[in-house]
């Protein structure tokens, strides 16, 4: 059960991120989760939205470079060590994590982790075998 993530190239200059989020807002697109990595001159915004096909179309026609990537989204108990257990499973199986980010929507319950790995099928099988709970696009967007 993969989740589609959008990645957008954002120039690192004042107002660019505001412009982009305004574009989503004006088109009624809710960014459910968000992560931004940046250098001094550019950044990549990664996020999950409900209707990613519509979002890509809107973002592209506004002139941004955008790509869709398959990622895994899992729930992790929101307590110390919750994430470590999952990461250990992956590292024991030699699956490298390219990046991950987390978000919490409801107070006190589970944290949600989105991550991108090199071998997504293998990662999914392993985590599933250990009864890690996966979320679908719809589930994420309705948390």
């Amino acid at each position: 059960m993969y989740v589609k993530q959008i990645s957008v190239f954002i120039e690192n200059s004042p107002g660019k991120l505001a412009d982009f989020t305004r574009l989503l807002g004006d088109n009624g697109i809710d960014l459910v989760s968000l992560s931004i990595a940046d250098t001094t001159n550019f950044g990549i915004l990664r996020g999950i939205v409900a209707d990613y096909e519509k979002a890509v179309q809107i973002i592209e026609s506004a002139g941004y470079t955008v790509c869709l990537t398959d990622v895994l989204a899992v729930t992790v108990p929101d307590k110390p060590g919750g994430l470590a257990d999952i990461l250990l499973l992956l590292s024991e199986n030699e699956i490298a994590i390219e990046y991950l980010y987390s978000f919490v929507r409801n107070k006190g319950s589970n944290a949600l982790i989105v991550f991108r790995v090199a071998d997504i099928d293998k990662a999914q099988d392993i985590l599933r075998a250990h009864h890690v709970n996966f979320l679908s696009q719809e589930e994420i967007c309705n948390v």
């Binding site: 550019f42 990549i44 790509c67």
Partner: protein, 433 residues
Amino acid sequence: MKMWNPEIEMMSRDEMAALQLPRLQWSVKHAYDNVPMYREKMKAAGIKPEDIRSLSDIQYIPLTSKHDLREQYPFKLVAVPMKDIVRIHASSGTTGQPITGCYTKEDLDMWSECLARLIVAGGGSNEDIVQISFGYSLFTGAFGLHAGWEKVGGAIIPISSGNTERQINIMRDFGATALVATPSYALYMAEVAEKMGQIDKLKLRIGLFGAEASTEEMRAELERRWGIIATENYGLTEVSGPGVAGECLHKCGMHINEDHFYCEIVDPETGKPLPLGEQGEMVITTLSKVGQPAIRYRTRDITRLLVEPCACGRKRIRMEKVKGRSDDMLIIRGVNVFPSQIESVLVGMEGIGPNYEIVVTNKGYMDYIEVKVEINDARLLERYGELENLQSRIRGALKTTLSIDCKVTLVSPNTLKRFEGKAKRVTDLREKK
């Protein structure tokens, strides 16, 4: 290979020299007798028209600079009564006072003859439907090519520049087969045609590009995107406009219309003539221009003249693609950099688009150069490292070519400036010391 005027284009080098000498003598005398500026300069150098006994004697005549011409604004270079002038053009004047170009009826005939030759050399014929996307204005480009195509017999669409989506619709509806534009505008038009999903529906087969210096890489990009054969032509308002030289389909340098323009290469520092084949600044003398002759005009264009025979059969000397105007050259930390060198690195590189901007700044005595390019491959966003790799790959390639370190900035697609006429890609923000 088709030629417009085989007699002149295939004439032997000796016969050409024999044709040029009396024309040069006439032109020098015409300028001396009728244009005070040339007379005063020659008198000051102690030379008279009668002293020109061979073509090489031209080196004793003083050079003429852009500054000299500006001082004669608007009509002090005109060598005939104003009633004989039938057309007035002017340079854009972006770098100062514009320079005017005045033409008699004979001058217009000569001009269109020169253009007809390069149009046919570039593959044009009376079968073509020609979209002229140069701005019709004081600028010589549009009217020059227009007259040349009329002579050749092409069906001209005088659409001018701008309103690019409409350009593409007209190109499709009228079935244009030839495009006349600056390389930078042709590139922008291709982007728009691609975006409109029309580029594969066009009948375009050739492009005649000019009015600005461009690189082989830019030509390859234009040929690939449009699916055409692209040739380049050369000229400048100061000596008449386009039509001084143009490429044939072998694309190995632009054949000069030597019966009307005498070209020399000089050392840009000293102004001394350089041996044939060496790179330097091109100096042009008009041989038949009546309304406004130009004697030893310094073009500031850096090039090389090639005499080796061309496979097309033409015997006219060729000039290499202009490396850049000597006043476009940037001196960065003491190193000479031509924007064309940067273009040759960037255009065609994977992951980025062909548009670019160069920004030069300084802090104290240190110069900094920043090159902005548009990323055009969304797959690079999968991994952060890919973008950093791209950035350092561009930086490395620039360093290899220029021997200096540039800051490379990646920007979003379609955010850099696009041009409808001559491109202006360099912004020099250095404080003058």
